[in-house]
Structures are given as structure tokens and as C-alpha cells.
């Protein structure tokens, strides 16, 4: 049997030690009427060779056209060292580091991860990951409700410039706790939240969510929004792209006091696209509300001899101790993905990450220039963008995308369903992995399709 080492002799000797005659006897406490029949519907087992052949065939059925789609998942170059090291069995096959002395590798790495994420966002502290960017935002909303003791309304301002799927996930997760999610509309010229459109008397608001860059790729006026929120007693939750943080003003420095809680999707930091996961969510906050943060947190301490070491700390926030009063039900997080992200950030360094961010920005600008030169194609918003933007096409986007696929191009994301008011709107992105030739290829194909 696969992965079971017992010889027949072992089995016999072990059954004898247990004082039973057969393996079946070990199940004698299960009421007989519950016993299942054979596992119909499960195929017979295969050798590694046969499974390998099947999976290669399946992988080949996936097609990977030249990618100009982003919308929360970005194709970046991943240095070879990242997954070479991350895949080591000592990381790959370890459990959550509850036995600290036997897990110093993972724990020190996570402490470094927390430091790097806090540096990127200019926040005081970070946790050791949540499931993904969308659930991290949901957790941030719940955290804001706990942390903002002065606010009684449990009301969160949720702009439509936040990723629509993130908003869906937040709705799924927080809906049972009497939290009100108030939609904020965006400015149709800028594709951002216009601070002057915010009410001067908003009433009791628990928190304002600020995406940076936002779902349209546009940069929000985060300073003014942050000051507005703080002036009205609301906390600020930033949702940020980690690559952008290399060049864009980080949430810890927004406005006079900085964001209170920051979260986001970690995938751009060395995680493959992989059909949507596993990725990881990150979360940071100000020091004074760290006890309200969900998820695992690693702290430095000393051992019996005074030597530096690392442990899981503030565990009394978590479900295994606090049970029904825990900050969250999360237990298993996305550990291995944060391992990869930590190695990615170390290998790239600040300069490397900045170069990547600048190249993404330059490529997207070049793409916008090329595509908007085509008859009938125009940019929709006038705010500066990071590495993504919205274009308007002369006819329905989904048909255009289908034809582009025929040219080997994944041309972006159709916004018709989430933002019908924008007309034939297409969200496009060009990361550092797109060459000039790739941009030309897209422009040539789109020109042909629209001709």
C-alpha cells in the first residue's frame, strides 16, 4: 500500500501486542450499522508514473496566453532561489511552530517576515499571515470594530474602488455580526474616492477602508481621506499592493497620523499565480491595538541561558485559548507562502523591489499609450495609476477578449458585470515580465480585432 511501511510480520506482531486478531477488530467500537460499503466512486490506486502522466496531460490542457490581467493576481518574476529554498522539507513538512525550541527556523523567519511587512507598509507591527487579501480585509473590518471602542455604530465605509470580490468576501464573513457596510461611490473622472464628496457630518463611523492603489489601478488621495476619517473618530483600514509600496507613500505615513490597520494580498511577493492560490494575506497595525489583531504573532524572547529566541506570542487572543471570545477562528494560516515571500523580499532587497515597481509602472504607461492610440480605445480615468488601468473599448469587452485569446493574448479583465456604468470597460495590467515585444503584440492584435 502506498506510504505504509509495515511488513506482514510487523502487522502480525503489532496486532498481537494490541491483543486482537485482525485489523477489523480494532474498529469494534463503531456500531456495525454505520459501517460503510466499499468506496464506490473512487478509482483504483495508481503508481506515481501513471499519476504523473495524467497530471502532465492535464497541465497541458491549460493554456497560458500572454497575460495582461491583474485584478489582484499579478505575474511577477520569481527568483529561482525562492522556491528552491522554500521547498526544503524542513519548511515544507513542518507543523505550526507551537514547540518553539524545535521550530526556531520557521519562527525566526516569521519574525523577519513581520519586520519586512511592517517596513514595507511603514506600520509598527505585522502578524504572520491570514488566508488571502480578501479575508484579510474581512478580518481588518472585524478588528476595527473591536479596536474603535468609541464608535458604537459598527458602521464601515466601503468604497466601490475596493476589489469587488474582496467586498463579496467581507460581506460573507462579517454579515452575522451586525456590521453595516456602507458603500461609497467613486468619482467618475478620477476613478477614485473624491475626498470633497465625503460628508462633513458623517455621524458615527467605525472605520473607512482605503485601497491603494485601488481596484482600477488609480491612486487614492490617501492623506486627505485618512485625515477626514480621523477627524470624525473613524479608524483607517488600508488595503495595499505590496509591490507598489516600494514607490508609493506607505499607509503608516498617510495623513497626520497614518492608517490604523493595513492589510493586503501577498501574492506579488514571490507567489505563483497558480489559478488563484495558495496566496497569503498580510496584516499590520499600530502598536496600541496589537491585542486586537487576529492571527499568529511571533515575538522575540530569551531562553534559560539568556540567548535570543522566538516564540508564538499573545496567544491568549487566539481560538485555542480564548475559544468563543477569540479575535478570529483562524488556526492554520498560509505559513509556507510567507516563507517564500520572506525569501523573495530578502533576495530582491529594497532596491530590487523598487526597480520591479518602476518597471511595472513604466510598462503599464507604455501599454496605455499604445492601446489608447488605437481608434475607439480610450482611458477612462485621469488619476495617476500604479500598474493597472481601465480602458474603454468601442464594443463589448467579452467578445474582444475572446478574439484576443485567438491571438494568444489574455487581454485583461472585463468590468461589465461589476461596473456596468463604465460601458465597455477593460482592466489591463503590464508587470515587469512584459517585454516591449509583448506590448507591441497586444497592440497589433487589438488593432486587428477592433478593425
Amino acid at each position: 500500500m502506498p506510504f505504509i511501511p509495515h511488513t506482514e510480520g510487523d502487522t502480525r506482531a503489532m496486532l498481537a501486542t494490541c491483543g486482537v486478531d485482525s485489523l477489523e477488530d480494532l474498529f469494534d467500537e463503531i456500531p456495525p450499522e454505520l459501517r460503510a460499503n466499499a468506496l464506490d466512486g473512487i478509482p483504483a490506486g495508481c503508481d506515481e508514473l501513471a499519476v504523473s502522466q495524467l497530471l502532465h496531460a492535464r497541465a497541458a490542457q491549460n493554456a497560458q496566453p500572454l497575460c495582461f490581467s491583474g485584478a489582484g493576481a499579478y505575474e511577477h518574476h520569481i527568483p529561482a532561489a525562492v522556491w528552491e529554498i522554500t521547498s526544503r522539507g524542513e519548511y515544507y513538512s513542518a507543523y505550526t511552530p507551537y514547540q518553539a525550541e524545535a521550530s526556531q527556523g520557521t519562527l525566526q523567519l516569521l519574525y523577519e517576515f513581520q519586520t519586512m511587512v511592517a517596513e514595507l507598509t511603514a506600520m509598527a507591527v505585522a502578524n504572520a499571515s491570514l488566508y488571502d487579501g480578501a479575508t484579510a480585509l474581512a478580518e481588518a473590518v472585524l478588528m476595527a470594530v473591536r479596536a474603535n471602542r468609541k464608535s458604537k455604530s459598527r458602521r464601515i465605509l466601503m468604497p466601490r474602488t475596493v476589489h469587488p470580490r474582496y467586498r463579496d468576501v467581507v460581506e460573507t464573513i462579517v454579515r452575522h455580526q451586525g456590521i453595516e457596510l456602507t458603500r461609497l461611490d467613486y468619482d467618475t473622472a478620477g476613478g477614485h474616492i473624491d475626498p470633497t464628496s465625503l460628508p462633513t457630518e458623517p455621524g458615527d463611523v467605525t472605520a473607512l477602508v482605503i485601497p491603494q492603489p485601488n481596484f482600477f489601478g488609480a491612486l487614492e488621495d490617501a492623506d486627505t481621506l485618512t485625515d477626514w476619517a480621523h477627524a470624525h473618530g473613524a479608524l483607517v483600514i488600508g488595503v495595499v499592493n505590496p509591490t507598489a509600496m516600494a514607490v508609493i507613500n506607505p499607509p503608516g505615513e498617510w495623513g497626520g497620523a497614518g492608517a490604523d490597520i493595513v492589510c493586503g494580498e501577498g501574492q506579488p511577493l514571490g507567489i505563483p499565480l497558480a489559478s488563484g492560490g495558495p496566496y497569503f494575506g498580510f496584516m499590520c497595525c499600530k502598536q496600541k491595538i496589537v491585542r486586537q489583531m487576529p492571527g499568529r504573532i511571533i515575538g522575540a524572547t530569551v531562553d534559560l541561558e539568556g540567548k535570543r529566541g522566538y516564540v508564538l506570542t499573545l496567544q491568549a487572543r487566539e481560538q485555542h485559548i480564548r475559544r468563543s471570545k477569540a479575535t478570529s477562528n483562524i488556526c492554520t494560516n498560509q505559513g509556507l507562502m510567507t516563507t517564500a515571500a520572506t525569501i523573495y523580499m530578502a533576495v530582491m532587497g529594497s532596491a530590487g523591489l523598487e526597480n520591479v515597481a518602476r518597471q511595472c509602472h513604466a510598462n503599464t504607461r507604455a501599454l496605455i499609450k499604445q492601446l489608447s492610440a488605437i481608434d475607439g480605445v480610450e482611458t477612462v480615468f485621469d488619476r495617476p495609476t500604479f500598474h493597472e488601468t481601465v480602458l474603454r473599448l468601442p464594443r463589448p469587452v467579452n467578445g474582444v477578449l475572446e478574439e484576443l485569446a485567438g491571438h494568444g493574448i489574455l487581454g485583461g479583465v472585463d468590468l461589465a458585470r461589476d461596473y456596468p456604468e463604465l460601458g465597455h470597460a477593460l482592466l489591463v495590467c503590464a508587470t515587469e515580465t512584459r517585454s516591449e515585444a509583448d506590448l507591441d503584440a497586444y497592440a497589433v492584435a487589438l488593432r486587428e480585432v477592433l478593425a
Binding site: P65, A100, L353
Partner: protein, 492 residues
């Protein structure tokens, strides 16, 4: 072992890894200064070799399945077959954008479809959604479905979820996230749910009960049918926490036990890696009556048998989405590869040999003089040893034993869970360990007991041979130091 400094302590200003980005860059002149970053983030500045060497050295400070026996109860630390990783990492899978056209995604969709079907078959449920990203998120999905079901019937008096006192912490935490209050049900002396207390607790306020079977006490809940009847008669539903499904794979199906909704921890039963804390995957299965509420997306088939995503248009009553895309797809692929290799006979063998190993280890430890928490019960895939006598005399705790085991080259079993058993070790050997590994563990336990009797300080000072001695959790929590800072001192 030498202290490995932090990566930041290896950093030297101006040291740049030119292999990665020397030819990248570009202007930001269209972004106003107020939106630009003024000061670079303090990421380490190291060579690629520095980074590779540092993270390789750190890895060597970990225990892992690949290096050690890891009998961590409830966590199912068994061999993570390499084939699962290699095949899930084929470029055809890794390079796929989540918003790719369905036409371009038939390969991955076919794998996910097959996995859905296989999980239906092993659990006896009518539909499976793969989207939850860990057991706890599966629990959330399950309890949210229970709530959606009651809400859809206009039955809004149901405000309470029942949870056995031996339950995992995620169960009560989940119930709270779903807006329920939690009532604990006691366990009887034999480790079964106290049915008398259960009967007294149920009523029109009962939304449902969350149960693990085999329970977290390492025994099969024998009166499960009666429990199901009591809860169903009161109008509540039954949630199955599938953390221990590996013990009964192919032997009993949760659907046949009367459960309405379940989750499966693929990182336990289907041997996907724990990765130092994740990612996991917690697919949910539902009975007919909860089917309309299942979380999206699922994989479906259209008329000409092409695969496609099912979303809110197909399932308008769904509780909704739990992730931006479709959950931890790469983990699902690993589980799929594992399931294909095992096949139907292999799955039953998991339960057989996980149970054999647990009962064998329990029999040998008992013969060596250790006390079992439930001595009259058959072990399932795990069992609980209690050191409450040792704690009184000679005065060593479960934690002391756990730390000393590390010196002997064994990862410690789960300690102090379930909370209702004093000084406990929850031991789960799994089917992938050989008799020799189990025998060596028994010898270590016996040797540690002898050390304890001779001088408790031997255990109190453990571990001795690891990168660090016993760490001070209290200082860590009192003097929070959660990140490195160039100038030392605390962040504010």
C-alpha cells in the same frame, strides 16, 4: 549550534543583488510627490548567497516530517509525498492566472471536478465545495450554511450552537463569528458526549451542534445516532469537524452518521503539507437540504461536458465567497494527486494502519507503566496519555516530558489539548511510521520517566541539544518585541 543572526544583521548598505533587477526601472514622473514614497523601506540588503545561506541555515533549526517522527495529535503529521508537490508545481498549473478564460482552464478544472467527486464518495455527502482555505474556514462555511438554512425558513429563534467541552477552539470561535452564542456540552467518564446533558440543552434555540468523530479524545463517539436524533428532533443541524476523518476513511461516512454538513482538512487526511503553519485546505460537504447554500465557486459541467465555474447565478442562495478566487488551488491539486495514488483500497488502508499504529503505541506505553486518559476505550488513530500522577510525584509536567522528547529526537505530541484532560499528551503516530519508529518512541518515553524519577531537574532544564534552551514565553508576552529595529528599542 551557532546563533544565526537575523537577515537584517547580515545587511550592508549598498549591497545589491544585481542578478534580479539590474535592467529594470522606469520613471515615476507622472506620480505627484505627495503620493510617492519618500524613504525606502528597510528590507535587508544582502547578496543572493547571503540569503540562500541564511534561509538554508534557518531551515536546519526546524523539526519536520522529513527529518523527525512527529506524533502530534489531531494534526496528522504524516509523510507528504514528493510527487504531490512536483506535479502540482508543473508550469501548466503554476502559470495560470485565476481569471483565465474557462476554455484555457480545462486542465485544472478537470482535476478539481474529479477531486469534488472523490470527496463526495468518501464522505457520503451530496455536494462538495473546495473553496475554504483551511479547516476553520470550512467550519465558518458550514455554520454559516446552518444559519442560512434556518434563516431561509424564517426560523430566527435559533441562537445557540452546541459544542462538546473537548472540542477544538476553532469550533466555538467559529460559532461566534457566525453570530451564535456557544453552549458547552460535557463529556462523560468514558469520553462520549453526555447524552443526558445534551437532551437538557437542546430546544427551539438550538441551531446545531459541532462534533468531531472520532472525537478529539481519540475515541469513536458510539452514540452518534442517538445524538443525531436528539439534535434533529429539536430542529437543529449537525456539523462534522473532519479533522479526524483519517481514522475512519472508508469505514464510516459522515453522511451515514447523520451529519448535515462537514469539512475535511486536506492537510491532515490527504497529506498535503503543513508548511510551518499552512496553507491548508478545508473543503465542505453538504446534505441535500444545505445544498442551495454551499459556498461558491464550484466546478460544474455544461451540456457538452466542458467544465466551468458555478457562481451566484447558479446558486443564488449561496452563503457567498470565501476568497478572492477559488481557495488554495495548489493544495487541492496535491490532495488530488495523493488520492489518485491511494485509490479506494489505499484509502481504507490509511484508517487501518493509522489505527493499528495508535493502538500498538498505546498498548506498549501502557505496558511500560504510563496512564491512559480513557483506559477502557479502544484508541482510534490517536490516544491520550495523562501525566497527572507524574505531575504530583515526582513533579514533572506534560510540558517537561514534551521538551525532553525533543532532546531524544522526537517532536513532542500535542500538549494540554483537549483542555478537559489534565497534563495530557495527545499522540497520533499516523500510518506512515514504521514499527521501529514507534518502538524507539516508547524507549524514549521510558528513559525520560526514569530520568524524572532520578532528578526532575533533568526534565525541567530540557531541551539541551536544540538551537535554544527552553524559551521564556512570559517575557515574550510582557515585553513585546515583534519586529527587528535597526536602532533597537520598541516600535511605537
Amino acid at each position: 549550534m551557532n546563533n544565526e543572526p537575523l537577515i537584517f544583521e547580515h545587511s550592508r548598505p549598498g549591497r545589491i543583488n544585481r542578478a534580479q533587477s539590474a535592467h529594470l526601472g522606469g520613471d515615476l514622473d507622472d506620480i505627484p510627490d505627495t503620493l510617492r514614497r519618500q524613504r525606502r523601506p528597510g528590507l535587508p540588503e544582502v547578496s543572493e548567497l547571503d540569503a540562500v545561506r541564511h534561509y538554508t541555515r534557518l531551515s536546519q533549526k526546524n523539526f519536520s516530517i522529513d527529518t523527525h517522527f512527529y506524533p502530534l495529535g489531531s494534526c496528522t503529521m504524516k509523510y507528504n509525498p514528493r510527487a504531490c508537490n512536483t506535479l502540482a508545481s508543473l508550469p501548466g498549473f503554476l502559470g495560470q492566472h485565476p481569471l483565465s478564460a474557462v476554455r484555457d482552464s480545462q486542465g485544472i478544472l478537470a482535476c478539481l471536478w474529479d477531486l469534488q467527486e472523490m470527496l463526495k464518495a468518501v464522505t457520503g455527502m451530496c455536494a462538495v465545495s473546495l473553496t475554504p482555505m483551511a479547516g476553520a474556514q470550512g467550519e465558518f462555511a458550514g455554520v454559516a450554511m446552518i444559519r442560512a438554512y434556518h434563516d431561509a425558513r424564517g426560523d430566527d429563534a435559533r441562537t445557540e450552537i452546541l459544542v462538546p467541552d473537548a472540542a477544538h477552539g476553532t469550533n466555538p470561535a467559529t460559532a461566534t463569528m457566525c453570530g451564535y452564542s456557544v453552549r458547552e456540552i460535557p463529556t462523560d467518564a468514558q469520553g462520549d458526549v453526555d447524552v443526558v446533558a445534551l437532551k437538557a440543552a437542546v430546544g427551539p434555540h438550538t441551531a446545531g451542534i459541532m462534533l468531531t468523530n472520532p472525537s478529539t479524545l481519540g475515541v469513536f463517539e458510539r452514540r452518534i445516532h442517538e445524538i443525531a436524533r436528539i439534535v434533529h428532533q429539536a430542529g437543529g443541524l449537525l456539523y462534522y469537524d473532519g479533522a479526524n476523518l483519517n481514522a475512519i476513511l472508508g469505514k464510516v461516512k459522515p453522511g451515514d452518521m447523520g451529519f448535515d454538513v462537514i469539512h475535511i482538512n486536506l492537510h491532515k487526511t490527504f497529506s498535503t503539507p503543513h508548511g510551518g503553519g499552512g496553507p491548508g485546505s478545508g473543503p465542505v460537504g453538504v446534505s441535500e437540504r444545505l445544498h442551495p447554500f454551499i459556498p461558491i465557486p464550484l466546478v460544474g459541467r455544461d451540456d457538452n461536458s466542458a467544465f466551468r465555474w458555478l457562481d451566484e447565478h447558479d446558486l443564488p442562495q449561496s452563503i457567498g465567497r470565501l476568497s478572492a478566487h477559488m481557495g488554495n488551488t495548489g493544495i487541492l491539486l496535491r490532495a488530488y494527486v495523493y488520492a489518485l495514488m491511494l485509490g479506494r483500497e489505499g484509502m481504507v488502508r490509511i484508517a487501518d494502519y493509522a489505527t493499528l499504529n495508535a493502538n500498538y503505541l498505546m498498548a506498549r506505553l501502557r505496558a511500560a507503566g504510563f496512564d491512559m486518559a480513557l483506559p477502557e476505550r479502544r484508541a482510534t488513530h490517536e490516544f491520550i496519555l495523562t501525566l497527572k500522577h507524574q505531575a504530583k510525584e515526582p513533579g514533572v509536567t506534560a510540558m517537561d516530558f514534551a521538551k525532553r522528547l525533543l532532546d531524544y529526537g522526537f517532536h513532542a505530541p500535542t500538549t494540554y489539548f483537549p483542555l478537559i484532560i489534565p497534563e495530557c499528551l495527545l499522540i497520533e503516530p499516523t500510518e506512515t511510521e514504521s514499527k521501529e519508529a514507534l518502538d524507539a518512541f516508547v524507549e524514549a518515553m521510558v528513559a525520560i520517566q526514569a530520568e524524572a524519577e532520578k532528578d526532575v531537574e533533568t526534565l525541567k532544564g530540557a531541551p539541551y541539544s536544540l538551537p535554544v534552551r527552553r524559551l521564556d514565553d512570559v517575557q515574550a508576552a510582557r515585553e513585546l518585541d515583534l519586529r527587528w529595529q535597526a536602532n533597537g528599542g520598541m516600535a511605537s
